[in-house]
């Protein structure tokens, strides 16, 4: 058995009376895309939030590459190799796409307490950022301010930022949302391409993409992981059909 890159054990989180995460355990192995599906409000984003460090779990632990990171800050988890995208894009809007990616590159290269050398003339930094943007399909758009990019393009920038951290694992919260059919297909192909290098925990409501990409699917309902299995197993489950898929499977 291969060692999981990311492992979540017995996570609990309540908001007042609402239990948003109920004893969730799951893992992410090398070379796999593990999809997380479930109805709206099932607690998927909350779970990602806890893994990334924005939300403190009530109990349970999170391991990254075998190391317990439960009490680490967001930034330190990112540095240790946890890349993520947000359900609603979160980028520095006033600057170019390249600047956004450069920041991730710079963080992955070490301390940001470097005061003198100008990033503008740091060709290596700029080139690396450009490469990542090319990889997600944004060649030629690097120097446009993010605020002037369309909804879909922003998603791509966000993915590029996550990749630029050279992450060990990637958390993607609905990366397809807001992408048109062409965009979805491109992104699907791209994720396919990086799977061998970076395992992905993927939240997505676009079932075409999920069924095409996922090696494993975990279904979250009402905060609890009720089922985990291969694409076919999930498709076949009556429970999942009823709670989530509806007629679509």
């Amino acid at each position: 058995m291969t060692k999981p890159v990311l492992e979540v054990k017995g996570l609990h989180k309540s908001f007042g009376a609402l239990q948003a995460t109920k004893n969730v355990s799951l893992d992410l192995k090398p070379n796999e895309i593990h999809a997380l599906i479930g109805p709206n409000g099932a607690g998927k984003s909350t779970l990602i939030g806890q893994i990334a460090g924005w939300i403190t779990p009530d109990s349970g632990s999170i391991y990254l590459d075998g190391e317990d990171v439960t009490s680490e800050t967001v930034a330190s988890r990112s540095r240790k190799g946890l890349g993520r995208s947000f359900q609603v894009s979160s980028l520095a809007m006033e600057v170019s796409a390249r600047r956004n990616v450069m920041l991730s590159v710079q963080a992955s290269q070490g301390s940001s307490f470097r005061f003198w050398k100008q990033t503008k003339s740091d060709e290596e930094l700029r080139e690396t950022a450009r490469n990542w943007l090319r990889k997600v399909g944004l060649s030629g758009r690097e120097d446009i301010a993010v605020s002037e990019l369309s909804h879909g393009e922003r998603r791509q920038v966000e993915v590029a930022c996550a990749l630029a951290l050279a992450p060990k694992a990637l958390l993607l919260d609905e990366p397809m949302a807001g992408l048109g059919p062409t965009g979805s297909i491109q992104l699907t192909e791209f994720l396919e391409e990086i799977r061998p290098e970076i395992p992905i925990l993927l939240i997505e409501h676009d079932m075409d993409a999920v069924f095409r990409l996922a090696d494993r699917i975990t279904v979250l309902v009402g905060g609890a992981a009720i089922l985990s299995g291969s694409v076919d197993e999930i498709r076949a489950s009556a429970l999942v059909r009823e709670a989530y898929l509806g007629e679509e499977a």
Partner: protein
């Protein structure tokens, strides 16, 4: 994906942007006028230029916090005042030939500006470290108010601390000294201030363009992004705050030299507001904005005051006009919106 009506920009961009031209012009005027005034023996105008220069340095400091780091400090008078009091207290002890601290080791006063500047900046840095460490836990309006609260604490402390004059303040009877030049001369002192202003702007520009600056700028625009990129916002912002305070503190030290006087009014919230006015008037985040802002403010205050007793009304109207009709301050009006590559 989108068409534009007109061709966006000529392909061969001229080397100098409008902003650069304005910057050069402003600095040239600021340098030339006192040289000329001094040559015809009008030291008053030289001192006025020194005042503008010093306020501009204070503004450059605050602008670094606001324009780069998005930390809207309404308490920068604290650092301005601390810088001033450092000068005042050092000169006081040097003049009285007493010790500042006797135990555990003796610290005496000094009349050497270079030493005073360094000490003033270090003390401001330490104060900013303490104030920032607490204040940066908050954000937005809360940050504005908590920085104000710290400044008010120091203000009331200064008012009621009798050793250094309380509300009456401290006079510096003799201007402190610089090696090799005659700091008593108005023109020399102006040139010293001018060089320090250039230095402050240069440092601020360098820092903004560095990796640290990139992180600080992202902290302003989107802290979530910064943390997600693996950089802890807090130490970045704290460092930015400390640097900003040190620059403003240096301005305070120079202000004390120029006036030959320090007092609690250097620490009052009006002063914080004024420094902020320099920044906004000139254009937030513009490197040379505070120079324009300080110049405009000082000139308005000085010359409207000569016309009429009701100068505050006119000053108010002028400021209001700038906010309402010149978005992005004067620099925004002249040179268009700020560009970040």
């Amino acid at each position: 994906m989108q068409r534009t009506d007109t061709a966006p920009k000529p392909v061969s961009m001229p080397k100098l942007s409008r902003e650069t031209i304005v910057n050069i012009a402003v600095m040239a005027i600021l340098l030339a006028l006192p040289l000329w005034a001094s040559s015809i023996g009008e030291d008053y105008y030289v001192n006025l230029a020194s005042l503008i220069t010093i306020f501009a340095i204070a503004g450059v400091g605050l602008n670094f916090a606001i324009g780069q780091g998005g930390m809207v400090s309404f308490g920068h008078a604290a650092f301005f005042g601390i810088g001033g009091y450092t000068t005042g207290i050092a000169a006081f002890h040097s003049f009285e030939e007493t010790l500042f601290v006797a135990m555990p080791f003796a610290i005496s006063g000094t009349n050497q500006m270079l030493i005073i500047w360094i000490v003033a900046m270090v003390i401001c840095g330490i104060a900013a470290l303490a104030i920032g460490a607490i204040s940066l836990r908050t954000e937005g309006v809360y940050f504005i108010m908590i920085t104000l609260a710290f400044a008010q604490m120091i203000y009331y402390f200064a008012i009621s601390w009798p050793t250094y004059g309380g509300e009456d303040g401290l006079s510096i009877y003799l201007r402190n000294q610089l090696p090799m030049v005659d700091a008593e001369s108005a023109l020399t002192f102006f040139l010293v201030c001018f060089i320090l202003l250039l230095g402050a702007i240069f440092v601020s520009a360098r820092l903004s363009g560095s990796r640290f600056g990139a992180a600080l700028g992202t902290a302003r625009m989107n802290e979530t992004r910064l943390a997600t990129s693996g950089i802890d916002p807090f130490p970045i912002k704290l460092t930015g705050f400390v640097i900003s305070a040190m620059i403003t503190g240096l301005a305070g030290a120079l202000f004390a030299e120029l006036n030959g006087f320090v007092g609690p009014s250097m620490l009052s919230w009006h002063r914080s507001g004024e420094i902020m006015v320099f920044v906004i008037l000139g254009g937030v985040g513009r490197l040379y904005g505070p120079v324009i802002g300080a110049a405009l403010f000082v000139l308005l205050e000085t010359y409207i005051g000569e016309w009429t007793q009701h100068w505050q009304l006119l000053l108010g109207l002028a400021l209001l006009g700038v906010v309402l009709f010149a978005r992005g301050g004067v620099m925004g009006m002249i040179a268009g919106r700020a560009r970040h590559d």
